[in-house]
Symmetry: C2
DNA sequence: TCTTTTTTATGATATTTATCATATTCTAGG
DNA sequence: CCTAGAATATGATAAATATCATAAAAAAGA
């Protein structure tokens, strides 16, 4: 459903959501240490996120990664699209060219509605929504 | 969500559900040709299915694969468990040790209920149920 | 301007998954 | 029994993912 890389991306972004701010930047090494994401792999994931303005970064001393106001308003689906592309989530479980209700594969009805709803949720939920959940103790970021 | 191997397994079993019977056995080559599953890969997938009595087989001239009455009553989840093991489907999206509502990860509520329902559906649906759907034109097996 | 700190970029290795190829065993029929 | 047709078992290769390592670029401070 989600690639390992997407999981890491989401974890890293959420970690930044909780622990960073414009004033308090965070080193990739800290993210790596705290989330158990391999350091170099994490770097490779943060790059496209940075390029696409999902996270903010400055280099040099005192630099690091952080989430700006705008970053926090990004819908989760954007993160997944950047890392996994936009086909993985919506593709047919049995690899029909297209997943739609007019020409459904045998599994479509077993999952269809639920998959669509998940995608909708990813579109309608932002990073700050999840950060709020975590900070309110409604959910827990795996560390 | 489902591995490629599971997709192939389901496709192959459904193909047999439609095209085989105790009297009309089907060669693995035919399955491979019709479903575009690579021949040797398919063989490797059919073996554990045969061992676990998901499909029936006889070797030698006139032999092949087919689905018995009992095979048709197998719930879909069994096929997936044999191929993917029983963790892949139920594991946490963000790789918490366990996915449960008491200690949910930030994504849990975006998908949780729906994932549980999908698994329930896989447990409650048998091969013959899906075959009936296909034969009634309610769904389509990718060929 | 030099050094240090950090991200960014690129390439190499390892692991997993998918695919291919070949040898072995079983079974029916002559 | 002998042969041929089939599944079964095992091992080898290829491709995709995940991981590691290193070099380059930018920014800050002395
Ligand atoms: S058509 Fe296969 S999951 Fe929708
Ligand atoms: S706890 Fe992560 S999906 Fe349920």
């Amino acid at each position: 459903m989600l690639s390992n890389s997407s999981k890491y991306a989401l974890k890293a972004v959420l970690y930044l959501g909780i622990n960073s701010s414009e004033e308090k930047k965070v080193l990739s090494k800290e993210i790596s240490d705290r989330t158990n994401i391999p350091k170099a792999y994490l770097s490779k994931i943060l790059q496209p996120l940075s390029r696409h303005h999902i996270v903010s970064s400055v280099r040099g001393p005192g630099g690091g990664f952080y989430l700006s106001k705008e970053n926090r308003a990004v819908p989760l689906i954007d993160i997944i699209h950047i890392i996994d592309g936009d086909h993985r989530l919506t593709s047919c479980l049995l690899s029909l060219k297209e997943c739609n209700a007019e020409h459904p594969c045998p599994l479509h009805d077993l999952v269809g509605d639920t998959k669509v709803r998940f995608v909708k949720n990813l579109e309608g939920t932002t990073v700050e929504d999840l950060v709020a959940d975590i900070e309110a103790g409604r959910s827990f970021l795996p560390l």
